[in-house]
């Protein structure tokens, strides 16, 4: 009944690819939604560039709602939406939908906190120069916060690697799925160790890339 790591190697490689794919696509989509959302949270807040109480309150509540649902519940709760968007509720593509719902609000919060760190004086200086609000967002706030955003997105990415392990529930595949179905449910300790080691390696690499980018982005 023992299956060796070697025998299962193709399956492990496949699972690694699935994890990278799931995390990559989810991160991309989460950024596409989360970054504008984070910017909106910053500029519409009190004393923001485009202060608007109603907009801020609505966005704030939506983000909080999604941030408070545990991923495993979100995964199941939005199954109908998933089916509507990708046509199926199982497989890697189906796992991406809940992962995006989970991480986009997280990215929004992280981007928000990075942007809030930008020195208010620099924004004031840009206003005094006659900059438009859009110029301030794209040429002051974002460039100045980029290094911090890179570090924060690293956190989001690692969070996604963790969450993607649960995607096994919808047959999403990936290393987490492999660890659960072989290592946990079938007591294949070798497989368990191999997958965990691979996850550790992925997280290490992600963090390294994040640190490198953050350092580079401090000087544009």
């Amino acid at each position: 009944m023992d299956v060796s790591v070697l025998e299962l190697w193709p399956r492990i490689v496949e699972a690694t690819n699935e994890t990278i794919l799931m995390v990559g696509i989810s991160l991309l989509l989460a950024c596409l939604i989360g970054i504008p959302l984070g910017i909106a949270l910053v500029v519409t807040r009190e004393n923001g560039l485009m202060e608007s109480g109603p907009v801020f309150n609505v966005l704030n509540v939506i983000v909080n709602i999604f941030r408070s649902i545990p991923f495993i519940i979100l995964l199941v709760a939005i199954l109908p939406i998933t089916r509507f968007i990708v046509g199926t509720s199982i497989g890697t593509a189906a796992a991406v939908v809940p992962l995006v719902f989970f991480s986009a609000p997280f990215v929004a919060r992280l981007v928000e906190s990075s942007l809030l760190e930008v020195n208010k004086g620099v924004v004031e200086a840009a206003q005094a120069m006659g900059a438009t609000n859009w110029q301030i967002i794209f040429r002051v706030l974002l460039p100045e916060a980029l290094s911090s955003i890179a570090l924060n997105l690293t956190i989001a990415t690692i969070g996604l690697v963790g969450a993607s392990a649960m995607a096994g529930f919808v047959g999403g595949g990936g290393l987490g799925d492999l660890a659960i179905s072989y290592g946990y449910q079938r007591f294949e300790t070798d497989i368990m160790i191999a997958t965990v080691v691979l996850l550790v390696v992925i997280v290490q690499i992600v963090q390294m890339i994040g640190n490198y980018l953050s350092k580079k982005l401090r000087r544009l």
């Binding site: 004086g121 200086a125 840009a126 005094a128 006659g130 040429r139 000087r219």
Partner: protein
């Protein structure tokens, strides 16, 4: 050039309102260096922000060249702001950009062609003496150098007004001097109107032509610096003047004022460089005894206070006083020290 007309700015905060600027009238002339001094919380930072409308007045008008700033459209305001440079206490430079790109920033915002930007930035780098630092980042510069970049950035769009918000307050005395010298050069070479906000009287003393003293949002006194230094009327002004010119009369002299003829002689408009007192001693039958005093420089002109005693017949003393009054300000010292 810049005119404040009954300007009031009220801030509302959690139900309570606070008048940061209270019915201020000021008229700042083209090409002058105008100082606004006050303790922290006096409203001077708000006042300077009313000029470029970073703060909007609650009532009253701020006019630049006769144009009411609160009536212009948003896009007009952006154009006007390009004509008003501003520098800050904490420099407010873009940390991710080089000195060159920080200075180029207001030009690129305005859509200036690259070649023109390069020409202007190099010119202005030369002016502030930072040509060799063009490719450095702000965190590689000293405070004084950062403020030079701030000044260069503010001048990039060739403005006609420069606002300085506590521009030297984060700098050491030596660096402050060099920055003030640079600001003077800005005015002298480009004929820019400079409005300086500060809590340091030596900044005012060093470069300002005229000064307004602020307290609790109000301008309590304003005038030429010679007037303010020689005859400060408001207690706050007196306090500020004393920070750079100790004109308090020592106790030992005050004790004897009743019995002796003791006067405060204030030199201004260059009279300190003339032998006023020795002339009096020569022409009248009086002895001049200098008890105490201080001479300093206001805008490269000697200025000061001397406490002198005149000894002699009453009539001679009176004649001497009449003669002195033509050249200097002379006040009898009273027992209360004023």
């Amino acid at each position: 050039m810049i005119r404040f007309d009954q300007v009031t700015k009220t801030f509302e905060h959690e139900g309570t309102s606070f008048k940061a600027v209270d019915q201020v009238d000021l008229d700042i002339q083209k090409g002058e260096i105008f100082g606004v001094i006050g303790f922290s919380g006096a409203g001077k930072s708000t006042l300077v922000r009313l000029v470029n409308q970073l703060e909007r007045p609650t009532s009253g008008q701020v006019k630049i060249d006769g144009q009411d700033m609160s009536r212009v459209s948003a896009s007009e305001l952006r154009n006007i702001r390009r004509d008003i440079g501003m520098i800050f206490q904490h420099f407010n430079l873009l940390e991710t950009k080089t000195v060159y790109h920080n200075i180029a920033f207001p030009l690129t915002l305005a859509g200036t062609p690259k070649r023109e930007v390069k020409k202007r930035v190099e010119e202005i780098l030369e002016f502030v003496g930072l040509t060799d630092r063009a490719n450095h980042y702000p965190d590689q510069l000293s405070g004084g150098q950062k403020q030079r970049v701030g000044i260069a950035r503010a001048l990039a769009t060739s403005p006609s007004i420069l606002l300085c918000d506590e521009a030297t307050s984060a700098l050491d005395p030596e660096t402050t001097k060099s920055i003030l010298k640079l600001l003077k050069k800005v005015r002298d070479e480009y004929n820019i109107t400079v409005l300086i906000i500060t809590h340091e009287m030596n900044v005012i003393k060093e470069i300002c032509d005229r000064v307004a003293v602020m307290e609790n949002g109000k301008v309590v006194e304003h005038g030429s610096i010679f007037d303010l230094f020689s005859q400060p009327k408001h207690p706050t002004t007196q306090k500020f003047v004393q920070t750079v010119m100790n004109d308090e009369i020592p106790e030992s002299i005050l004790k004897e004022v009743e019995a002796r003829h003791i006067y405060r002689v204030t030199f201004r408009d260059g009279s300190a460089s003339q032998p006023v007192l020795s002339n009096v001693a020569k022409h009248f039958n009086v002895e001049v005894n200098v008890l105490y005093g201080q001479i300093t420089e206001l805008q490269q002109t000697p200025f000061g206070n001397l406490i002198v005693e005149l000894q002699g017949e009453d009539e001679e003393i009176n004649n001497a006083l009449q003669h002195l009054e033509k050249q200097v300000i002379i006040q009898e010292v009273k027992a209360d020290g004023r």
